[in-house]
């Protein structure tokens, strides 16, 4: 018996020993098919990838759902282009009805913006913890950290700015949660708070970023001080005019701030408007005019086969595309914006009153095709690249998404001048744009026009210069010119905030603190 117990003891001891040495390891398996928080943020390379991820999430948010940046900013302003029926109900938004099921589910849902914001918050949490010792793979750790943080602030500010223009009040989140599972459900914060956050973030970003890029390859498609100021200028003008929609008197403090900011960009940014001979290159990207663009260039295999440009192009431009693209530019837009005074023309048999179009304007020549047909086409974004060039297959557009550019800011100065009742400066700026772009002499405005008329001409000029860049609807709101251009947006609807989007009811399912956009209460 004794022997048995001895044997058993030996066996047990051997197996217990093997286990204690190996079991801890056995019960710890680390992922090898993915990186993860516990091993990330350990080098400059990591931080760079994270920032790239932050931009990528923003790109995902703005291109999502039929390139929503343009749906919010241009499509619903109606007059600039027409969306044809295709079964998904998207065209409904052009008549001011945002309630169709698919549009509610997609365009009224802000989830993707919060992913970009969450990424910014993650960067803001983790980059400050990256000491010089961790950042040994970068040349100047201090600058590196500043630039990383500055960009994160900028992306967060831009995301909130885009959201507050679409929804007004939105939830504010500025922390990266340690434990997202127990994170609170946030209510919508007042738009004033959102705009204050955008302003603060911009100020922080501006302090962290410089006018120059450490790496010239990052120019335009990542943020620098110029990008931040451009955003700030837009914010100031939006806040000056849209804080109280019932008042048509802008807040002059904000207007002045916008002016100062734009002047700083002009003075320090080193930007230059593109030579009109090479006008088209602006919209491929990285022109001297560009201030902030979202990279969608196929040089880095980031071209898109569904960018806003593809919606307009037919098979003459891209192999395999339809003959009748879904989006087209109505003739009325061309006539309104590029039409000159009519004149009597002798046709050979009789005199006819012909409205001629300003064919000399480079923005007309460059941006539109099939102008004499029922469905003119926008070719502003048509830098087609075939990834399979042999068979002309796998076409993508290699056009960056232009968010801010110098010409945009220069033209905003006309708006600022108008708010300051300086119609002459405004007229000069508008005329300057027209002359520069080769417009006919008939298009030049006379001096001494009324402020209202100059506002109208200003909107036309924005419509020409900023066509399909995601700004036009907001221009119409700020300047209160919407009532002359958008039939569905009545003064009453405007007064009740009817230009804002509803919120997808799916978001309420989880969040009891969320409230519907007031105008859409009971309508969705």
């Amino acid at each position: 018996m004794k022997n048995i117990y001895k044997n058993i003891t030996v066996v047990v001891v051997i197996f217990a020993a093997t286990c204690f040495s190996s079991c801890k390891k056995l019960l710890t398996e680390e992922p090898r098919n993915s990186t993860y928080l516990e091993v990330f943020w350990k080098s400059g390379r990591d931080a760079r990838s994270a920032i790239a991820g932050n931009y990528a999430l923003l790109r995902d948010a703005v291109t999502d759902k039929n390139n929503r940046y343009y749906m919010y900013g241009d499509a619903i302003a109606k007059q600039y282009f027409t969306i044809q029926y295709a079964g998904d109900g998207l065209e409904g938004i052009q008549s001011g009805d945002f309630t169709f099921q698919y549009n509610i589910n997609s365009l009224a849902n802000w989830t993707k913006y919060y992913k970009a914001i969450a990424m910014s918050n993650t960067v803001l949490l983790n980059v400050p913890k990256m000491t010089d010792a961790i950042l040994k793979d970068v040349e100047n750790p201090t600058t590196f950290r500043k630039e990383a943080l500055g960009q994160a602030y900028f992306i967060r500010a831009l995301s909130y700015f885009m959201m507050t223009r679409v929804w007004g009040d939105v939830p504010i989140v500025t922390e990266a949660y340690d434990d997202p599972i127990s994170a609170p459900h946030l209510p919508r914060s007042p738009k004033a708070a959102v705009m204050k956050l955008v302003e603060d973030d911009c100020h922080k970003a501006a302090q962290l970023l410089s006018w120059n890029y450490t790496n010239t390859g990052d120019a335009k498609v990542t943020a620098n001080k110029g990008s931040v100021y451009a955003l700030l200028a837009h914010l100031y003008l939006w806040r000056a005019t849209m804080t109280d929609p019932t008042s048509s008197t802008p807040n002059m403090t904000d207007v002045n701030s916008a002016d100062t900011t734009i002047n700083a960009v002009i003075a320090n940014g080193g930007y230059k408007q593109t030579d009109t001979a090479r006008y088209g290159t602006t919209f491929i990207g990285r022109s001297t005019d560009g201030i902030f663009e979202i990279n969608m260039s196929d040089n880095t295999l980031e071209g898109s086969n569904r960018s806003i440009g593809t919606e307009f192009l037919n098979n003459a431009y891209v192999n395999g595309y339809p003959t009748n693209p879904r989006f087209y530019v109505p003739k009325s837009y061309l006539d309104n914006h590029f039409g000159l005074e009519g004149e009597w023309v002798w046709s050979g048999t009789e005199w006819q009153w012909i409205v001629s179009v300003d064919k000399g304007d480079v923005r007309y020549k460059n941006n539109f095709a099939y102008v004499d047909t029922e469905r003119p086409m926008s070719i502003k974004y048509s830098n087609v690249v075939y990834r399979n060039p042999g068979q002309k297959l796998d076409a993508v557009l290699s056009n960056n998404m232009i968010i801010f550019r110098l010409s945009d800011l220069l033209l905003l100065k006309a708006e600022i001048a108008l708010y300051k009742n300086d119609t002459q400066t405004a007229t000069d700026i508008i005329n300057g744009f027209r002359k520069r772009n080769g417009a006919s002499a008939k298009a030049i405005l006379p001096n001494g026009m009324s402020k209202g008329d100059v506002f109208y001409e200003y909107i036309l000029e924005r419509g020409k210069e900023m066509f399909l860049e995601g700004h036009l609807f907001y221009d119409l709101l700020r300047t209160r010119m919407y009532d002359q251009f958008i039939d569905w947006l009545t003064t009453d609807r405007f007064g009740r905030g009817g230009y804002y989007w509803p919120v997808d009811p799916a978001l309420f399912r989880e969040n009891p603190n969320l409230k519907q956009t007031p105008y859409w209460l009971g309508k969705v």
């Binding site: 079991c23 990186t35 993860y36 516990e38 790239a52 099921q101 589910n105 609170p184 593809t310």
Partner: protein, 1052 residues
Amino acid sequence: MELNFTSLFSRLLGIIFILLIPWSVFAQVKITGTVKDKSGVLPGVTVTEKGTKNGITTDNQGRYSLTLTKADAVIVIKMIGYSPKEIAVNGATTIDAILEEDNQTLSEVVTIGYQKITRKKSSAAISSISAKELSNLPAASFDQLLQGRLSGVNVQNFTGQPGAAPTVSVRGNSLMSRGYDEFNVVNSPLYVVDGVPQPTESYVSPNTGTGTNYLAGINPADIESIDVLKDASAGAIYGSRAANGVIMITTKKGISGEPRVGISAYYGSTARPELRDVTLGTVERRQKMALLENQLPLNDQRYLPIMLTDSLNPAYNGNTDWQDLFYQTGRISNVDLNLSGGGTGGMVYRFSAGAYNEEGIIKATGFKRYSARLNLTSKALKEKLTINPIVAFSRSDRGRGNGSAGNPIGLGAGDMPSSLFNLDDDKRALLLGAYDQNLDKNISNQLTLNLNLGYEFSPNFRFTSQSSLLSNNARRDYSRGNALQNNQGNYSYAFADNGIDVRTSNLLSYNNTFKKHSISALIGQDIQYNQYQTISASGSNGSADNIQVVNGFQQSRIGAGSDYQAYGLLSYYSQLAYDYDGKYVVSLSARADGSSRFGANNKWGYFPSASVGWLISEENFMKDHKNNPITLFKLRASLGNVGSLPSSNYLQYNLYNVNAAGFNGGDATSYNGTTAITPNFYNGVAQKNLSWQRAMQWNVGTDIELKGGKYAFSFDVYNKETSLELFSVNLPVTTGYDLAMTNSVGVRNAGAELTIAANPLPTSSPFKWFSRLNISYNKNQIMSLPNGGRDLVMSGERFDKSHILSVGSPINAFYLYKTRGVFRSDADVPVNPFTGEKYRNSNGTYLGGMFYFEDLDGDYFTDVFNDGINPDKLPYGDPNPKYTGGWVNNFSYKNWSLGIFATFTFDRDVLNLFESDRFSNSSAGNAADFSRYSVPDLAKLDLWRKQGDNAEYAKIDIGSYRYYYTSAQTFFLEKGGYLRIKSVNLGYDLGQRTLKRLGLTKVRIFGLVDNLAMFQQSKRLPDAEAVNGFGEYNGAGYPIPKKYTFGLDIQF
């Protein structure tokens, strides 16, 4: 070759062990004899001297010779399937015996986890079957054969594709998911082969890898017995993985004696079932024309599709039976060879090899398996050490047709073209090219190496060590030619995976009897490590069709990837069984599992269980009763806790996404050329607090045997509450994350199981009849859901979103509009009294002839788009079968035997997508769409044709956009009950005289029909079994074929 090698090998081993055994000399008495049963001599019967290890087995002629250690010995003669016999020697030198076939199931030994125990003393709920029942049935894997044979085990073959996995569930389903995954609807049990848990979980979908059923690598002919541990007391010894039941498989071992060779072979064919009912040619044309003329307004009739009007057009005057193109009659063949024997000193071996080949009924589908297995047992160190290595290898090769698991012929109910299209040679070549010209090679190799060691310190104390290595690798090679890739160049794909599972299990056991007290106890430890790696590569837009590997593609057209998954599991367990006087049985077990899949806070889970049994028939008041027909009466009860593991290995980490730069229109991996990395905002949040999923289960049962096993009943009632099941919850949008797992779902499965077995005819009758019926009832109900128990409409693959998870409803209940009938006329459509508007959907008001959906919320509006909660839909029905079971009937008369086996499933609801799709293929279009697709035989249907018709079917929907033929309505919900005559098996055993002349031990000739006949409740379903786990029949899957085989069993 293998045969020679094995016999050589065994001889060699024999010699080694003979050398090892210390020979000692006794004062000996030698006895000899022959053992027979009614039909003749019995080889392989164990004859032992009682109370010793001295024993031998009978040879081919049933003879034995045993040298006794004591003159007054008692010999015990035993064989599986026969009642054991004890005979006192009393000085005799020749003892012949005739064994009686045994009907008692309770003397059988069952395997419960790490122990073997007689069924009589078991207090757990276990169902078992033996090899005999599974022999020679034509199926690629044994799990398909379990259907209907074991109570509590529900097997449904939703596809007839050879080598694909059926769904197997033990005591109901508790798996829930947010999305739609046809291959992952029901949680499968843990399979344990020869003590080794099998890594059956798959990390890749069948459409990525080979998709071959892991269990198809095990040759059913090698299986000795299958025990299913259903309740917690039996399963708890497998703790963390037993929540869905444990299926224990024991493979055959050698029988000592002279080498014995057996060959069994069968050949046969597989036949396609009846195809769906379609109309062809002019019949189709006339029906469609008549319908259009009747249904379309006059103005639209001016534009009737040319396809119908121009019957002389050679493009449209076809008579093509599209289904016919893809089917074939397949052949099936199987050869098994086995070789077994053993020598002195307890050395036995068994070697088997098998080749199975089944051709599918769809072109280019099939399954081949080559398998070999060696099981060797020998003893050393004064017979105290048992050495039992098992080596098994199998290679399977699965043909996959067009490569799609869900849609093997590529024509669903909704998109089957009209027969009027003529099929020219090019088109035919293109269609069939996917079958004939494609390369799609799917090879799986499985190697199993087991080493089981047992050492007896004393007759009471034993140390057992099991070590195993499972090495599985599979690869898929796939290529498609230029023509099948829209002329964009050929495509090649290669995928390989490699899995390794290493396990060692060490346990100490103690058994003893003190007067009337018996105790058996064990304590042990398991270590398991599993690693799985994949690698895949693909190339597209290639320039030469005959390149069938990933080579010669442009760099930018090549994709590649690999993956690594690993987990470790460490367990400690203990089992304690006690019985008093064979009357009162108590059993306790406990297991602690530590898993690498959980975070530091919850690595360990503890799973206890207990069971008690009372053998009333052992009590004196029953025993003393003369003529008591009750030979056994047992009551038992158990209670315990079992668990299951999450399927993801790395939930405890905050995972990041690399290349996270995709956007609408771009599959970019970078931003401005810098690789984008973000947290995995979909579901990558770290889950450090996740804990084990648990199921608390109780079971009460009884086993009764009458007249020495002539009749047997077994009845169990159970309740299994799965709680803390992992399920994803929505996180606040503002966190950036979408979903995270929490222990948040509860499911209850409760039910009862009844098994009745009978041998109604007297033992003296030459005609024998054995009958066994088992019925299992299981009711499944969701008890709790995350996010405050809110209903969750599953994001299905279909627009209709026809499933919901709802507290109180069964898992995956249907979410449907209630069809009230068909509006007889336009005037029948109700009007909203407040607005004066007619009942409508977002595309307009309803009209006569359309289906009338119940307006549940009373707003005179049905929302057809709503993908979340829809106020006009309700949860209906239950896709989980409630009653399942089977009925075995075996008859024998002299040398003839007949087996008839039927399985059944009742009280299950099926959503007939097949039918809805056949009607809805034109609902989004116009008359041209209607004419382009195949439609059912309209003449046979009670279709609405004109105002006032009281019809069963609504009028064909031609571009109305009212979507009234949506599949998400009760009209398409059918009763899915069926009874299937699964197999009929007729056999003839050659008589002893003939055998002697031939020099053989046994010859059996048999013929078998598999899936002979089907009786089902629904007239509209082509096959009520070919229904997926969601309870959907879409008609696109692989039909379940009939198989006819004819074979031979020979023992040398």
